[in-house]
């Protein structure tokens, strides 16, 4: 699971008002090379919740991202390289995603999160 996906997931258990961002529990992180594409990064940037992204990257061991970012930084190759690496190349392979309100844990196995709810949570 890429951090891009983490940035798009939230807990929607019945009664939870703000299930975002999910807290990451790390068991195993892997890196996979992805071809750099600046256009994709520029298109993706406005869709990312930056603070949740920076925190998630730190949790899985990457602390190179600036705490705050705005679109003017998209002209910097250095920034784009870091953004690319954190967004697409770092994968949470094993671990969990924890609902910030209820503490319910959604397992991540072989890089695939299981977001299915139990009957009493829907």
């Amino acid at each position: 699971m890429r951090l891009l996906t983490h940035n798009m997931l939230s807990s929607n258990i019945k009664g939870v008002s703000n299930g975002f961002p999910l807290r990451i529990e790390v068991e195993k992180v892997i890196e996979k090379h992805v071809d750099f594409n600046a256009d994709f990064l520029r298109n993706m940037f406005p869709k990312i919740e930056w603070k949740a992204f920076v925190d998630a990257a730190k949790t899985i061991g990457y602390a190179e991202l600036p705490e705050e970012a705005d679109s003017s930084m998209l002209d910097s190759d250095e920034f784009l390289n870091k953004f690319h690496h954190a967004l697409l190349e770092l994968h949470l392979e094993e671990g969990g995603l924890v609902c910030p309100e209820t503490g319910r844990r959604f397992p991540v196995s072989k890089g695939i999160p299981n977001m299915l709810l139990h009957e009493d949570e829907v």
């Binding site: 891009l4 939230s10 695939i112 999160p113």
Partner: protein, 318 residues
């Protein structure tokens, strides 16, 4: 020279075979990329041969790839690519130029099964252009795992999530999906078979096969971006014209990309997109509190009735 001629006639035969719309051929085998090159001696005849060859190559050779059946992973609890999957991929191929121009940033498949469709979409869109990110979901845990194997076998990537339609994505992914593809469980079944574990979730569609489709449509509407497109497979029993009317009320225009009849079923692959006229109609419907104006009804129904009369005509003539 003799061998050359036989090569060329082989080529023509292959071309003729592939024109015959044999999905087995097109979906099963990779075309041979290396045609035999001409030898050094040049004659006019030879040059003409080459020219003809090139013409056929341009006309009939697919310049891009889709998923290959032999590389699609399988599992007893996962739905294997079938006529409906082929119809959806054929629709995506038929619409390829539009898709490339569309430049989608985020693409999503709901109910990815074996991974045949999302893999094909990633291959069709290719690496050129501004790049796309792919997300695929399935309620069946075996299916997402099989999909990850199929993707890896083709050297492409999609993010996989084991979830019910888009549960967990609905908040943050709202309005971001530029292309959504869905081959839903559309087979009419008793209602209590819907959402059962394992492979039944791939086809059990409840009354008129509409239970899951009717759940997916509002979610698709929520997730699609302003320029977002939805491609969905439907069965005649699902009442596709009524699905189009429902989407029209949400401001979507629709078009049948592919219609295909097999011995067992008649499939439509329908493409939906947000349309200003449709949105205007939707507003009017909301204010006048009518379900659908006669004009809208007519415009939506016409494509289906025209098509069915065309089908019956062509089947009479053949």
């Amino acid at each position: 020279m003799a061998t050359k001629v036989s090569n060329f006639s082989d080529l023509i035969q292959r071309v003729a075979a592939s024109c015959h719309d044999s999905s087995q051929n097109r979906h099963g085998d990779e075309e041979d990329e290396n045609e035999t090159e001409s030898e050094s001696e040049e004659s006019e005849e030879q040059a003409k041969d080459e020219e003809d060859k090139e013409k056929y190559r341009v006309l009939y050779k697919m310049p891009f790839r889709i998923a290959q059946i032999r590389l699609v992973s399988s599992h007893p609890e996962v739905y294997e690519p079938c006529d409906d999957s082929f119809a959806l991929v054929d629709a995506l191929m038929a619409d390829r130029n539009n898709l490339l121009e569309h430049q989608p940033t985020l693409c999503m498949e709901v109910g990815c099964g074996s991974g045949y469709i999302i893999t094909s979409l990633a291959l069709i869109l290719g690496q050129e252009g501004p790049g796309s990110h792919y997300i695929a979901t399935d309620i069946n845990p075996h299916a997402v795992w099989i999909t990850s194997e199929t993707l890896a076998a083709h050297g492409v990537h999609a993010e996989l999530i084991n979830t019910d339609i888009a549960l967990g994505l609905e908040k943050r992914l709202a309005g971001l999906v530029d292309v959504m593809v869905v081959n839903p469980p559309y087979v009419p079944t008793p209602e209590d078979e819907v959402g059962c574990e394992g492979i039944a979730s791939a086809w059990a569609g409840g009354e008129n096969g509409r239970s899951v489709i009717d759940k997916i449509l509002p979610i698709a509407d929520n997730l699609l971006s302003d320029k977002g497109w939805l491609y969905m497979v439907t069965l005649t029993a699902n009442n596709p014209s009524e699905i189009c009317l429902q989407m029209r009320e949400r401001g979507y225009a629709s078009r049948i990309v592919i219609q295909r009849s097999t011995e067992e079923e008649s499939l439509h692959v329908i493409k939906f997109w947000q349309d200003l006229d449709a949105q205007e109609d939707a507003k009017q419907m909301a204010t006048t509190n009518k379900t659908a104006s006669a004009r809208v009804m007519e415009s939506v129904l016409s494509q289906f009735s025209l098509l069915s009369s065309w089908i019956s005509n062509s089947s009479h003539s053949s």
